[in-house]
Symmetry: C2
Subunit: 239 residues, 2 copies
Amino acid sequence: MENNIHLPKTNFGKLQEYLREFVYGGIDGAVTTFAVVAGGFGANLNPGILIILGLANLLADGFSMSVGAYLSAKSEGDNFGKHEKIEYWEIENLPEMEREEIATIYRKKGFKGELLENIVNHICSDKDLWVAEMMKDELGMMRDSKSPFKIGLATLISFVLVGFIPLMVYLYDFFFPTDLNIFLWTSILTGLAFMIVGWLKGIVNQTSKLRSVSETLGLGLLAAVVAFYVGDLLESFFM
Amino acid sequence: MENNIHLPKTNFGKLQEYLREFVYGGIDGAVTTFAVVAGGFGANLNPGILIILGLANLLADGFSMSVGAYLSAKSEGDNFGKHEKIEYWEIENLPEMEREEIATIYRKKGFKGELLENIVNHICSDKDLWVAEMMKDELGMMRDSKSPFKIGLATLISFVLVGFIPLMVYLYDFFFPTDLNIFLWTSILTGLAFMIVGWLKGIVNQTSKLRSVSETLGLGLLAAVVAFYVGDLLESFFM
């Protein structure tokens, strides 16, 4: 599900390859726990309940999202392999048909006559090239070089790390009671996290940093406002 | 972020195009609310609390996920457009360099001599073709024909619809109290939902239906078990 754009060089080194997973996993994690906290705050629930359900959701969603990301990347790779096998079988067993498909691809690019004939001859003289052309131009499939396991791991780590941020102030206050407005401080801290992740998202998507930061902050705010009002509205009804 | 595999024809008609969003949105939605329910059940929380936080999470996560999916698809389209513009600028202003890049692409496919020369001449005589070749072969970028708005909408609808399933029995029992084991019935209903979505996921990913159904059911179960035990463990500590 990734596009294969070559990212601009930055100083994230090898980590950069999985920055996309880190960014999207982190946003999902923070939205999930912040929604529990904001919904519970809206419904005037006991902070202990928010900590329990926040942590339960953080770990449950984190595991299932990252296993899901692993499985999805794996099935995409399997699918590429399956179609590649089919293409090898077809050029072995239906060479005329597959030759005509290569001709069609290049005819669409405007090649014709002897030049078209020579191109098709060359491609069909090398089975690996022949299959590679079919995969890309007939099926529109490109191989993703990323490891499904590392995709899952990057998702898990960022989901749990960033998703833990909306729970930190609640946990701190539980163990060391303070006079702070814990929901306010949670919102500030979570807002900062959304801004940092949004800035990284700008790098991943090669878009304007300002736009990316404000979009991500807006998303988090939207989730919190919706959760707060749903909690507030339903409190009198279901409690 | 989608691959462009042509899906096998089924009778889902135009909806089929957005089946991938429906599947992944649905799984995310059901995992999120089922985690709230299972965590709350593990911690022996009042069903009213589970309904409030389940609905708050369902709507908050549903909105932010679908807006996030819309933005991500949009920025990918924008990014494609930006790079396309750069390529048009480059063939206009640095034609020799860009011509050499086309030659390099075809040299890698084993073409040489006069044939290579003729191919490069043909491609560089048509600016749209020239840019299209650079986009695909140099940058590895393919245009996604799906509408970002419909991607967001499909995600929202499936997230909310499928995510509502783990809350249905709790809501029913709240308004019409029964003697049923509501957590058991919720688990059965949610399990069925995971199986149906898993079957659809098999269509989307072109993998074995049995494997896809069991993977998706396993993911949901993993989330529920983790949430239940976290809730159970933390209850005595935070309440």
